[in-house]
């Protein structure tokens, strides 16, 4: 039995936007890239997301945000992750993210941003890269 460090990803949709087809399709693409994907569904509070990330011992949190609230959500979640000592978990964001916001997100500590239109290949490559 060899050691197998599989990448575990939590795909979560925070807040009120009620549209998760994109998140589900990304989840499938990550599965096909050999990752274990925990899909937690719509309307997650940030507390729920943190709790799930802890219990599932994930490597990556992938938020899907299309409501335009990505900046405050990511800022708050990063702060909560810091407070809980989850420094090993990478936060990534996808969805409707204007390009001018990407540097701001990176500055908060978000590891990678995958705005709408990013190919599956770029997403899986980008996620794998976080662990090289």
């Amino acid at each position: 039995m060899e050691t197998k460090h599989k990448i575990r990803v939590l795909i979560a949709k925070p807040g009120l936007d009620g549209h998760d087809k994109g998140a589900k399709i990304v989840a499938l693409a990550l599965r096909d890239a050999g990752m274990e994907v925990i899909y937690s569904g719509l309307h997650q509070t940030l507390d729920q997301i943190i709790q799930t990330a802890i219990q599932e011992a994930v490597d990556i949190i992938g938020l899907s945000i299309m409501s335009g609230a990505h900046l405050p959500i990511c800022e708050k979640l990063m702060a909560m992750m810091k407070e809980k000592g989850l420094k090993d978990i990478c936060l990534t964001v996808g969805g409707v993210i204007p390009h001018q916001d990407i540097p701001k997100l990176k500055q908060m500590g978000v590891s990678a941003v995958f705005p709408g239109g990013t190919s599956f290949e770029s997403i899986t490559l980008g996620m794998n890269k976080l662990f090289e």
Binding site: T3, R31, D32, A33, V37, Q44, Q48, I54, A57
Partner: protein
């Protein structure tokens, strides 16, 4: 490595990381498990199995609600299948249990089956040890749900609930031989559908013919399997199900039945570990041997058939192992 003391104090971060190391078969996992094992063993472990779509996750969600009403600390391990092609998995069981997401006394962990075929993953039992050491009083394990051949749960759980729904063909499709024999409580979920009574009736009939000399004859089993109807979606019948699990727990605690069961499961655990470890050692040993390389060449060149080759190598192994064992003994004598 996660701190053992923190795990024993119930830290979710430390416990979850420990399960992760075990799941990944990290070299540190064994030492961690050895330290936690003496502190495990107080949890009551419930297995929930049944075909896909019968409502196992929704039922567990409703059960968590009942257990929390009585302030039990409860953990859930939900196993979903790993894709044999990509090695990846979508773990979606906790999707139906999200209302407990902010409750600190509920711990839900999804696991991917990672190539195991009996409905659990290799590390499920070990994860239950960690959760028990963390102080969870109740551990519910949800199997993959492929259906008719998921018996691994019987080597881990103290009480097994089998979930089915009305209208599955001739009624007994979902609970044939084997799966019928491991159940303690049978649940006809979605019982607002037509034919629910027929499903209950058929189950009861099958159970009356069940071979009571099966798995638990050593426990002189007077527990009569129950058949219950539920509608997990709206909670109908879930209180009764909860009471029945508790009743089974009480029953097990009488006359040392639970202790006997635990001893039995401990032996099974030892045997399965032994198999894993021995196989790993033998594989390594064989693959490094000259005979193995020579035999591969012979198969390649067509001078030997694979059947004879496998026989030869394993026969050879027996002799080599014996020689090694003798040599080790001699070393020890000195």
């Amino acid at each position: 490595m996660p701190d053992v003391k923190e795990i024993l104090q119930g830290s979710q971060i430390a416990g979850a990381r420990a399960i992760r190391l075990i799941d990944d078969n990290d070299p540190k996992a064994f030492s961690l498990l050895k330290q936690l094992y003496p502190h495990s063993g107080n949890a009551f472990i419930i297995g929930i199995t049944g075909s896909p779509g019968v409502g196992k996750s929704t039922l567990i969600d409703a059960l968590i609600f009942e257990f929390r009403k009585r302030d039990f600390k409860i953990a859930v391990i939900a196993v979903d299948p790993t894709s044999p092609f990509s090695g990846g998995a979508i773990l979606g069981d906790r999707l139906r249990m999200q209302r407990h997401g902010a409750d600190e006394k509920v711990f839900i962990r999804s696991m991917a089956s990672r190539g195991q075929k009996g409905g659990l993953s290799r590390a499920t039992k070990d994860a239950a040890i960690v959760l028990s050491a963390m102080g969870y009083e109740i551990i519910i394990i949800e199997t993959v749900g492929a259906g008719q051949a998921e018996f691994d749960i019987a080597a881990v759980a103290h009480s097994i609930g089998i979930v089915t729904i009305p209208g599955t063909g001739d009624g007994i499709q979902a609970v044939k031989a084997g799966i019928l024999e491991i159940g303690d409580i049978f649940i006809v979920n979605k019982s607002d559908r037509t034919d629910a009574e027929a499903a209950v009736h058929e189950l009861k009939m099958m159970l009356s013919m069940r071979n009571s000399k099966g798995q638990e004859s050593h426990l002189s089993r007077p527990w009569t399997a129950r058949v219950l109807k539920t509608i997990a979606q709206n909670g109908t019948g879930v209180k009764e199900l909860f009471d029945t699990f508790l009743a089974h727990f009480d029953f097990m605690k009488q006359n040392g039945r639970l202790e006997l069961k635990k001893k039995h499961l401990e032996r099974l655990y030892f045997k399965s570990l032994l198999k894993d470890l021995a196989l790993e050692k033998i594989e390594l040993f064989v693959q490094e041997s000259m005979a193995f390389k020579e035999t591969l060449d012979q198969i390649e060149s067509g001078t030997i058939d694979p059947i004879t080759a496998a026989e030869n190598v394993t026969n050879d192994l027996k002799i080599t192992c014996n020689l090694k064992a003798i040599r080790n003994l001699k070393v020890r004598d000195n």
